[in-house]
Symmetry: C2
Subunit: 411 residues, 2 copies
């Protein structure tokens, strides 16, 4: 193994500069895809790519690439995303792009002659603030469905077409992203864990063994609204009490029968929503995740049956709509083995773990072998201004990424 290392100060300065773009009043970062701050971040990344002497390119989905030519046109790619949730943190996504950029800068400075071309990638709207997660990487891999996009509104209520046009894109141009795609032979993503496992284990590096699949439902219990004081408890069809019962029973079911999988209710809207009115409707989000396809399907079915049971025993109706779905991904054994050996060579402790969160890498897995490198999230926090990391962990992970890129591009 060569002994080159990234210049960590340079990476750290990039992180600090980027964190100023979209800094919000609540101490976090609000840089949803194609918002003004995101457009500014894109401009900034373009200038960083060009300053590094890499070849800048933006595809029809607004995905941004910086290329370092190798002997072959086959591409080893590394990256993540620059967009954030509203009031998110500064590390989720960003460090995956910026660490890859630093690796390419270093490889270029060292004038390493590699067999394969290397690209840093920043994918559009990983967080799904427009029309569902992974718009950019789905477009890149040819996984978009046309009928879902025409006349689509973003979650902030604007026509998708109009929002895309801010970045010079259109619904038609989204299709160009996969048509013009180079031959990608491997994809690596460095990311924060967004959970508590690595911190508990006390290791700087996580090697992801699988990525959870997801079912995301928009669901509703419907009962009967009524004046809070005038309807005796035993005559109520209270949609929120139905939801509470379902939430507890469904969580218990997953904890016992589907241990290791997750169920999350992150949004609730009661209607009519007055303190003095029994809720006639309880709209909620239902997020189910599993590392294993068959189990995800079984859990999904059982949870929906449970919801109908709760509804029927409480005089309610239950409705649900599958709003988003991804399948679990197993990281190829050869990729995992390569990363393990590099960790050992570098003298870094590591831990194998599944990823509960979805990532662009998961989408890329349909076109090439992927690998994911996690670093610990302090207190397991993410999607919040309190999101934090240890910089030493990031330095190690970025050096692992550097070695992995060199190794893959040398094949």
């Amino acid at each position: 193994m060569n002994t080159i290392k990234i210049k960590f100060d340079r990476l750290r300065r990039d992180i600090e500069e980027l964190a100023k773009i979209g800094a919000d009043k609540k101490g976090g970062i609000s840089r949803p895809a194609l918002s003004l701050p995101d457009l500014e971040a894109r401009k900034w990344l373009k200038s960083r790519i060009e300053e590094a002497g890499l070849i800048y390119r933006q595809d029809g989905a607004g995905n941004i690439f910086g290329r370092l030519l190798g002997k072959s046109s086959q591409v080893v790619m590394a990256g993540s995303h620059l967009d954030t949730v509203i009031n998110g943190g500064r590390y989720d996504g960003s460090i995956g792009v910026l660490a890859a950029l630093e690796c390419l800068r270093k490889i270029k400075e060292e004038k390493l002659s590699l067999n394969k071309t290397i690209e840093v990638a920043s994918f559009t709207d990983e967080e799904g603030n427009l029309v569902g997660d992974f718009l950019g990487s789905r477009a890149f891999t040819g996984k978009l469905q046309k009928e879902n996009l025409k006349n689509a509104l973003t979650q902030f209520g604007y026509p998708l077409e109009e929002v895309l046009s801010r970045a010079g894109l259109s619904i038609e141009s989204l299709w160009r992203a996969s048509e013009e795609r180079p031959e990608v032979v491997a994809f690596l993503e460095l990311h924060i864990e967004q959970g508590p496992v690595l911190e508990e284990e006390g290791v700087p590096i996580g090697l992801v063994s699988s990525i959870a699949g997801k079912r995301y439902y928009q669901a509703t219990f419907v009962g009967k609204a009524g004046q809070a004081g005038s309807t005796p408890l035993e005559l109520r069809q209270d949609a929120f009490i139905g939801l509470s019962d379902f939430a507890l029973r469904a969580t218990q079911l997953v904890a016992k029968k589907y241990y290791g999988n997750t169920l999350t209710i992150g949004r609730v809207l009661l209607k009519p929503g007055s303190f003095s009115t029994i809720p006639g409707e309880a709209d909620f989000s239902l997020d189910l995740r599993s590392q294993e396809s068959a189990q995800l399907k079984e859990m999904e079915e059982e949870i929906l049956i449970l919801a109908k049971e709760v509804a029927s025993t409480r005089g309610l109706s239950f409705y649900s709509r599958l709003a988003d779905s991804t399948e679990p991904v197993i990281i190829p054994q050869s990729m995992l083995e390569r990363l393990r050996i590099l960790c050992q060579n570098l003298g870094y402790d590591y831990h194998l773990l599944p990823s509960g969160a979805g990532h662009d890498a998961q989408i890329l897995s349909s076109i090439c072998p992927i690998g994911m490198i996690f670093i610990p999230s302090i207190d397991g926090l993410s999607h919040t201004p309190e999101e934090e990391i240890n910089l030493e962990d990031l330095e190690k992970a970025a050096n692992l990424l550097l070695q992995a890129l060199i190794s893959l591009a040398s094949d």
Copy 2:
């Protein structure tokens, strides 16, 4: 007993005319206090009072009165409120004002000579869209607390002072309402039940025996936000699961130990409120009602202890703030007896029942004996565009109100 009856066609036309003011796009009525539609309704009521030859008066709280002079300046009063919740129905409040207006018109037409003066009253903001329920009747009875009003914002976020000024009112003028109050010797309120009891009993008239007291809390469970996929269920401090547990256990506690009382959670707001994030906070409204003071206090204490228990067993914190409070009221036996005898004389079936909802009459009970006449709500619905009544029930109730006013004013 005299045999005069109200002119029901005239009352029905008034109801239909008023229902046009504030009719919203969702088929309901949106006429929150001091909104433009409410101001229009006030103007309309003034003209109806003056057309009827009654003496119009508005007090410093915007309460509107129409007076028919008797031999004495002591006042027998009947009324309710014209304001509505957002997207409410056409009968809640309105019929109490309009039936009383019709009674006064009829008494005037018949040139009855009564011992006491009679007034129809329409109180400001019964629904509490400004700064808590019963602003008008609280001001009228001298029950406002100055410190709560200075710099107060309405629930739509405007300064109270500014909103009051739309009707020529001010925070200072609110105090005049009780200072200038006439000597009220009785108050009657006709209202829809807003619950299912009378319809189930199959009677046209409900005589209210007591009115529930209320404790309204704004409360929060605080846990820890986190990425939905990355935090195993057993490591979560999910504020919504805490709320679900509390909602079920608290409802069961009330149903078993405090049978006949109510607990309602009508509003829930999860933070950060993303489908892919474990809720770190669950804000909710908690509405407790009882017909009996000691029981209300005991239930309130036990429910708050339960919330803290749920929080502590689930690694959460619990915070609560008492936002509104009214005490239960027992209707005086003499008033109830008078109304029962009148029902019997009129040949109307009736049913005695407690009122779970609060009413202006409850506030008036601090200054004079009160009586309340309910009519059935179809399907028990209220605070919704589907609010409906049988017109024959209203006609009977209005005739009972007419006889009760004559009887009380003859004392």
